[in-house]
């Protein structure tokens, strides 16, 4: 079995009107045996950047702490918070450092980036396990249910969804895709990020 499928789990991020959403399931398994139904794989980097880390569980924890190290160093030296695009490149270079012995994670990022005029613009990005960046305009997906997430997202997403509508769209995408994947599910969590607040909700879904 592929190492990326060992623990299971999936993440998706979507762009809305002046907002972004990022969501993941909560399952952690040992191949076919499900172990945890509250395994967090989405973490805040700043008030306005969240990163989702689907893939091998031990690497989820390790990468989360490595990014914390590097972002702390960035913040303390630059005396300002890191911007989403910059963080995306930080993720890419951190992964490429291990080009020939990679972390088994395909990160997904969502955030709000500052514009020159002082406003905020929605931002999403994803990389493969060795750091190839993808700056999509609509949505990015990763994890064991990625092909299912692509299918449902392509069918349900439309541009300029308001935060509450984006929440419904990303939730339905995640739930229906995870229900067709044996290794994803067992609970789900969604974060909606706007320029001044973040709303987090857990979803009621099938627990099988």
């Amino acid at each position: 079995m592929s190492i990326m499928d060992h623990n299971g789990g999936s993440v998706i991020a979507m762009v809305g009107k002046d907002c972004v959403a990022i969501a993941s399931d909560l399952r952690l398994g040992d191949r076919a045996l499900s172990i945890s139904s509250n395994f967090q794989r989405i973490f805040p980097i700043t008030d306005r950047i969240y990163v989702g880390l689907p893939g091998l569980g031990t690497d989820v924890a390790t990468l989360r702490e490595r990014f914390r190290f590097r972002v702390n160093m960035y913040t303390i030296k630059e005396e300002r918070e890191i911007e989403p695009e910059t963080f995306a490149h930080l993720v890419s270079s951190t992964l490429y450092e291990h080009r020939f012995g990679p972390y088994f994670i395909e990160p997904v990022m969502a955030g709000m980036s500052k514009t020159p005029s002082g406003g905020y613009k929605p931002f999403i990005a994803a990389t493969d396990l060795i750091g190839c960046l993808n700056f999509a305009k609509d949505f990015v997906v990763a994890g064991t249910a990625s092909s299912k997430l692509y299918g449902v997202a392509e069918g349900l997403w439309e541009p300029d969804l308001e935060p509450e509508d984006l929440f419904e769209t990303i939730s339905q995408t995640l739930l229906n895709a995870a229900d067709r994947d044996a290794f994803s599910g067992w609970g789900a969590i969604v974060h909606i990020i706007t320029k001044d607040k973040i709303i987090t909700r857990t979803l009621k879904g099938r627990m099988d």
Partner: protein, 263 residues
Amino acid sequence: MARRYDSRTTIFSPEGRLYQIEYAMEAISHAGTVLGVLAKDGVVLAAEKKVTGKLLDLSSAKDGGYGGSGEKIYLLNSNVIGGVAGLTADANSLVNYARTAAQRHLLQYNEDIPVELLAQRLCDMKQGYTQFGGLRPFGVSLLYAGYDPHYQFQLYHSDPSGNYSGWKATCIGANNGTAQSLLKQEYKDDILVKDAIGLVLRTMSKTMDSTTLNSEKLEFAVLTLDPETKRPNAKIYRPAEIDALLLSEGLTKQDDDTEMKAT
């Protein structure tokens, strides 16, 4: 007289001294003063800037970042503020090392680095420069104002030799002797931060070289504990906040000329 024994750090003089280290401390005695006072509920740091002038671009200190012009007082970690006296370039290198050391500890133990441990990390490195490699020591003394859950608020001082000690109140840089004796007289064990601020500013005003006591010459920082979250709160004051503080303490000193014109 001692010429043959001072060009290499790794050599003792016949009198048993390491001259390079002593020369480093001599360099520091000409640098801007840094003062630190430990209180029951926090630590206060103040420093005299030597690099000033109208042409200096301080726009980043005014609005962005953490305050502080980046000459004397630095944020080392969320729970430790450092004050430096000596060669600024050497200080930058040490501050960078301290910040990395703090993150390495966080990565390994998932906790903020204990203050004394951070001081030890830096001192271990500094001592190495006095014994191996034939490289000159760092011409910097540091004050570490920090908090950890084990020993609460602490204040440490380290010098180029790689030695360090813990203090209730101390001073490094120019006029540190004067400041030290002033602190010895006025310091009380159970002092609170709000009084420590006053003590620090009064002592600075008496020992600083310059005639003016304002945000142009002064850097100021306070480390306290947030009452709700129980986490350390490091605050490096912006120029406008320093001026406001001096005003509230009644210490706004003007040029002698302006003072005379007023009276």
